[in-house]
Symmetry: C2
Subunit: 416 residues, 2 copies
């Protein structure tokens, strides 16, 4: 049982839009043990759509297609798919009533006439009613293969997949081969150093277990993947090897599951009843935004002060004007006072401060673009470090976020 994803849209091919749908779909199919073997992005053109369907049907049992179902003229998927299945489009009054209802419930009474076309569906399809948008999805089953056609707007696709497609697949399209994934998340050690540390363990892995390194800025995620017919064996064998890896590099391990670093921080701090705040200059609220994106963050996260201007560092965080004048905004003394200020203002156990030159402008002879001071105020001390990153703005911000969270995590571990 294998799946293939086809995403449609010229905006994907010209780079305007990043295809986030595929990863989301793949994750959810994976949970049903239906591995995705191929993802293709193609143009809004009939021929491209039909060719992609033909190739996918030859390779996979479950085919998910997203995009091109909207009401505007650049949406050609329905016509292309009808031709592929040698069927027609029919007007479905139940779909029209549903679309009208969506407009009414959102308080817009005059539905533009263009939306009447949304009620045209494939004659051979089961309609997947869309409660969060006006484009219905459709499912077709043919020769033991399942095709779903979903809108490309992410939250509409997600609604239909979760509520219409996955329940249908869950019982019918079961796989005989199971895949067991297990994860270790490490910070503060580069990919090749990590590989060196665990080489002997990797050598001993049996052929049905593979190990993948998934490096990101400041973090390496290890994924063990085991394939076989007996889930219990897969799990037992994989976990035994994973324990060896964890024991070998334990100082760097932040999670032994597939959580994000922010999730680990939020959950650990919440469990231990510890609170956090941030004082952000060069990261501009990125640390706060990443932490508060985690559900339930409001227990451990008290607040952030994004103090871009010197005056706001003084007014909001109580940084001394003298320190700013003597050492500048990007300096260890200022960073220290920012962190301690946030800890005091927000009444938290820990506080992170960042001050740096993210670029591309703002560099000086003595402080180049990429110079960043990170301070973490903890229970008994405030740690301050200066980093010299050398990348573009977005990467410098991301590196700063990761370095700050890693520094916080280490201090927290030591103070426990």
């Amino acid at each position: 049982m294998k799946a293939e994803i086809i995403t449609i849209g010229d905006e994907l091919l010209n780079g305007q839009v990043v295809d986030t749908n595929s990863a989301w779909i793949a994750k959810h199919l994976g949970a049903l043990h239906i591995p995705v073997v191929h993802i293709t992005s193609i143009s809004d053109k009939e021929r491209a759509i039909q060719q992609a369907l033909r190739q996918a049907e030859a390779r996979a049992d479950v085919i998910m297609m997203t995009g091109g179902l909207g009401p505007t003229r650049d949406d050609v998927t329905k016509a292309a798919v009808a031709a592929y299945f040698s069927t027609t489009l029919v007007h479905d009054p139940a779909v029209l009533a549903h679309v009208k209802d969506i407009f009414q419930r959102s308080g817009r009474t005059n539905m533009p006439a263009i939306n009447i076309g949304q009620a045209e569906v494939l004659a051979n399809a089961t309609v997947l009613f869309n409660d969060v948008g006006t484009a219905p999805g459709m499912a077709v089953e043919r020769d033991g293969k399942y095709f779903a056609f979903l809108p490309g707007v992410p939250f509409e696709m997600k609604f239909l997949l979760e509520n219409r497609v996955l329940p249908a697949l869950r019982n019918t399209y079961k796989s005989e081969v199971f895949v067991y994934n297990s994860y270790v998340v490490t910070v503060g050690i580069g990919e090749s150093y990590l590989a060196e540390q665990i080489a002997a363990i990797e050598d001993a892995l049996p052929p049905f277990i593979t190990l993948a390194y998934l490096p990101k800025i400041g973090l390496v995620r290890l994924r063990f993947t085991a394939e076989g017919t007996d889930m219990e064996t897969l799990e037992r064998e994989t976990e035994a090897f994973k324990q060896q890896v964890v024991a070998r590099v334990k100082d760097h391990v932040v999670a032994v599951d597939n959580r994000s670093f922010e999730e680990v921080l939020v959950q650990t701090f919440t469990e231990t009843g510890v609170t956090l705040s941030t004082a952000e200059s060069c990261t501009g609220g990125a640390i706060s935004a990443q932490i508060t994106a985690v559900p339930g963050a409001s227990q451990m996260f008290q607040g952030a002060a994004v103090t871009y201007s010197n005056q706001s560092k003084i007014d909001v965080l109580g940084v001394s004007p003298d320190t700013l004048a003597r050492y500048g905004a990007v300096s260890e003394p200022t960073g220290k006072e920012m962190a301690e200020g946030a800890k005091r203002v927000f009444h938290t156990d820990y506080a992170i401060a960042t001050s740096g030159i993210a670029g591309p402008g703002g560099g000086t002879d003595t402080k180049a673009v990429g110079t960043v001071c990170i301070a973490v105020a903890g229970k008994s001390e405030t740690l301050v470090k200066t980093f010299h990153f050398k990348n573009d703005r977005a990467i410098n911000i991301e590196r700063t976020v990761m370095a700050a969270l890693t520094t916080l995590w280490k201090m927290f571990q030591e103070e426990q």
Copy 2:
């Protein structure tokens, strides 16, 4: 002249990692008038790599492959590609010296032995020296087709594409057919309403100009694409139609180019010498982080207070304890005081405040998950609105950010 992108990695197929490389590559090839016609994500398996190369070579002239070039064992691209070209891997001393240099410059003297393998390169390739990582890229030209093999780590791929691949393509792989893209960005009007408004203009488009609707939460980007052999004609004709669209829906237009909404805000506020701050509760710093991600934001953006706790709303923003007790944190009076507090604390012309229940927890009988109050304090008044979103945490946060920025933009336009 057409291009195809192949990204390699089981992490892309199982949904762990979103493929952001393809969009970036596509955008940069597009700028050279080399349109991408196909994007494929495949597994780290020799057979999948070779099959994808075969199909791509049949369809495209420029083939970009990313991923699987690292030093660890799960990286099989080099061996697979060598077999595809019926060539071998050779040890390149210049590459080894370069990799050693990268380790030395980063202050790590003991290069793990595993990295020696990085110096193995395709015998038929030009090495693309990588200054920001240890995996070299490679370029192969065969029968008038150009292949580039690049690491999957985004910033390494970007470095190699910008500094090694694009300069090589710029002169050699010129296209005869030009593509002219032009954009209009609208906010506050749904896709189908917009389509209805501009239907007559769309009807009159000549066959060589197409119009695409790219909806996101709270925003629709329109893309005109013209194809032909004479760039001047393409530009003149497209811009004439675009002017008609802009005139028709001008109240909703925020940009007539391909900038993000945040870029438009930062640049417009900077040009008019107007400043902004935010007071964020449910958005947790997301507005601030998105604005400060724009280079040069530090002139117009003074700071943000992320006040998750009631106490911090009182301490940092001066919200009255009485207002909080009487109306609650998620209320129009609290939102108003938060916005006015931020405007005062950060000394800005405008301030945005958000307070709401992003979910999944925190809803009550009277205030459901998705209830959000947005306030914008401007030069002469403070506007407060309550929204009722009904989605998951991430979407509720994104909707709130867009609604807040749209409210700010409209007030700014009116006060000019």
